[in-house]
Amino acid sequence: MPLNSHPRDWKSAFLRYETLLFVVLVAEWLLFYHYGTSTNRRGLVVGFGTLDRQFDILRHSCEIGLLALALTPVILTAGIDLSVGSLLGLCAILFGKLWHDAGLSIPLAAGLTLVCGALAGGLNAGLITQLRLPPLIVTLGTYSLFRGLAEAITHGSVTYTDFPASFLFLGQERWSGLPTQAWVFLVVGLGMWLLVHRTTFGRSFRAIGFSPEGARYAGLPVERRVALVYVLTGVIAALAALIYTARLGQAKADAGTGYELFAITAVVFGGTSIFGGRGSITGTLLGVAAIAVLKSGLATLPVVIRMNAAEEMSGLLTGALLLLALTGSVLPKLFSTLRTKR
């Protein structure tokens, strides 16, 4: 189980879930490096063990990684946001429309897109905190709403392309040795880590996740904190939309379809309790990495290539790993309840 990280508790570090996850990640990586790397007829190294492949993994995991980072505080408060994938699609379309149809400059269009993301997150936040509706249902509604809006704007057919190279640099080039978007991801990751583990905000998220009533009795502004995590999620989903558009060079209404599920999987796989309270940003980052390496690595295994089953295998293994991690995370709780009953 991931614990509330405290700088003094190094002793328990080896027993922590994050450590276990890190070991799994390294083992997984070595496995693919060994079995997934080969030399082709012209004597070039191909497959998993190339730098290009590693950068590819990084590029592909940035958008889902951002969504997973945003979802960690949401899930820490015992909430959920199913609308992030749809919001990514809506923001991609809005960005394309603002730039292409409204003729705004790229920075202005990008800034407005982030504002739209915040507003969309604010809609979720308002429904959840003011009307006290359950987050699952609210975001299931906005999940359809945001995707529907994106499709309505484009009539399901318009795709925005021909973005300037200066913008595509964000998604397709490298800066200081790493894919550009990886730097954005790292900065957001660091920011989130600080927010969750080093500020009173993170402390409140956890308290709310464990016991919203208890947090209220302690005088914490429960509604404001909960609203904050959903608005923040909206902004980060908009940021992910920009990176997605830059990576593919096009903005379509179906951008980010199904991403919410991948992101939630990564968060939960990273050890954040779906019941709220427990979890860490480090865990989420490891969860994102483990799933991305698995997905990409499977496609390089000769046996999987022969069967042409990379997609199926990665879905199957991700699902199995998630269920395993979930089972593992409730076992200690189960044991402790059994003990108290006795």
Partner: protein
């Protein structure tokens, strides 16, 4: 009523029944007996052990020791299913019916066994419901949805179920708490009907006049032990109250030494329609412990929640240090210097999964973490200071709150609020479910705080605690503060005020 009862074997007998929760002895060897055709009242202060006794009878708890005899079967304990089978039914203050189903459906769900294919014979169900309702004299159509019924009508449906199940023992836990006088009379008629039919009724009520109007015998519980069973005809209200409280107030309480200072809190005519509190006026001075006594449900916790901004007042004025204040949220209350240690520490007082130190600093984030930035060293020092000052027994400041015993959890909850350096501290049942040792430690802490000049409001259902700790005692009844008594008042005077009996 007849003091001599037929010498038939009793319906239900408890012998030396004992039950403890954690370190707290809720029942310490109680004898109790119920005859067929009698209404047997059960009387006692809050926490005297009435509900525990009822839970042993309905099988919700198993006694640690002693035996129960029902229908000539001697058992070491009951299960709810067995209790039902033996004809024991319980009618609670809040009827446990399905509001969206009709009366006949509710009756059917309780009484029908499943038929092949789970088929429902609607005609038989209706016929049975009609017949049973007629037997208890209830003028309710069987196809009425329960949600449209009044509280007493719902209680009648519960009684109907009990009758239909062939109950020989019917327990009624404060059935009249929410009834009007007329409804109460109707209920009494039904209870008398049951008695005539040979059913034994255990009747719990705080209203003494009901006991005199209805009961044949009365058993008084005090501190988890029975202080005697008497024929109601031999008793008067005064003797009953004496029996309920009649013990020496323990001398263990730390003495009050300090003269009260300036008025810290002045409450004038405060009320809140939503929580049923109305017209409350009192004041608390610096250095004073103002005890709030009253029965469970008298509105004491509700009053605390008003002062702390959880259910803001909609009438009246509140003044703190002479300035009018409006408290609309706990956050505002903390900023003004109010602190509230809630009653339910496991749900509200401490977040069990979080470390002690994080629990202790939870109400002072703004003060000790400037710019929202956590300062672990500062937090730990503060926690260690409180752990030392309040003598919290724990594995360390990072041990989760849930790993502590009740008394130590209460100290953590107290530390959280002392850390806010409040002007007024409201304590709600500060020693409920706490073992004796921790209890007197907590009392010393509270008295010490008052001596340092803090104004303290202490809500407690523990009468000796109220009497021993308070400098003045406010008594609440039915949502309002009826009486303010001086500290050291007689227990029976406080009890009589809580019960609404003129002395």
């Amino acid at each position: 009523m007849a003091a001599t009862l037929p010498p038939s074997p009793p319906l239900l007998t408890l012998r030396r029944a004992a039950k403890s929760f954690g370190g707290v002895r809720a029942l310490r060897g109680v004898d109790f007996e119920l005859q067929a055709g009698e209404v047997h009242a059960l009387l006692g202060e809050n926490g005297a052990g009435k509900s525990t006794l009822i839970k042993l009878i309905t099988g919700a708890h198993r006694p640690d020791a002693g035996e129960i005899t029902v229908a000539n079967r001697t058992l070491t304990g009951l299960t709810p299913a067995l209790a039902q089978q033996l004809g024991i039914a319980c009618i609670y203050q809040q009827p446990a019916l399905f509001p969206d189903l009709t009366v006949e459906e509710n009756i059917g769900l309780r009484l029908e066994s499943s038929s092949p294919w789970q088929r429902i014979d609607w005609r038989a169900r209706r016929a049975r419901a009609t017949e049973l309702l007629r037997r208890v004299g209830a003028a309710i159509a069987p196809d009425t949805e329960v949600r449209t019924l009044s509280m007493p009508e719902q209680q009648l449906v519960e009684i109907t179920c009990a009758v239909g199940a062939g109950a020989r023992v019917v327990v009624m836990d404060e059935p009249t708490a929410s009834l009007t006088h007329l409804e109460q009379q109707q209920l009494f008629a039904v209870v008398r009907e049951l008695r005539t039919g040979g059913v034994g009724v255990i009747y719990i009520s705080h209203r003494l006049e009901e006991i005199f109007a209805l009961a044949d015998r009365v058993t008084v519980l005090r501190d988890g032990a029975s202080v005697g069973t008497h024929a109601v005809g031999d008793m008067t209200e005064t003797t009953l109250i004496k029996l309920m409280v009649g013990r020496e107030v323990a001398q263990l309480y730390p003495p009050s030494e300090c003269a009260a200072g300036e008025i810290v809190l002045r409450v004038h005519n405060v009320g809140c329609a939503a929580s049923g509190v109305r017209g409350v006026s009192f004041e608390v001075r610096a250095g004073e412990i103002f005890g709030l006594a009253g029965l469970v449900g008298a509105g004491r916790t509700e009053l605390a929640r008003i002062l702390f901004g959880q259910t803001p007042a909609d009438t009246g004025q509140i003044q703190l240090n002479g300035k009018s204040i409006a408290v609309r949220s706990p956050g505002e209350a903390i900023a003004l210097g109010l602190a509230y240690v809630p009653e339910d520490r496991r749900r509200h007082g401490v977040i069990l999964e979080m470390p002690i130190e994080e629990n202790m600093t939870m109400a002072i984030h703004a003060r000790i973490f400037p710019a929202a930035w956590l300062r672990f060293g500062r937090e730990r020092r503060l926690a260690l200071d409180f752990i030392r000052d309040l003598a919290v027994k724990c594995a360390g400041p990072n041990a989760p709150g849930g790993s502590l015993s009740g008394g130590n959890q209460q100290k953590v909850s107290l530390a959280r609020w002392l850390a806010t350096k409040p002007k007024l501290l409201i304590l709600d049942e500060p020693t409920q479910g706490v073992d004796v040792g921790a209890k007197s430690e907590i009392h010393k802490i509270i008295r010490g705080l008052a001596q340092e000049g803090l104004a303290v409001i202490m809500i407690s259902s523990d009468l000796p605690e109220i009497l021993g700790m308070s400098d003045r005692i406010g008594v609440m009844r039915s949502g309002t503060l009826t009486t303010v008594l001086p500290g050291g008042s007689d227990a029976s005077v406080v009890m009589a005020a809580a019960l609404g009996q003129p002395q």
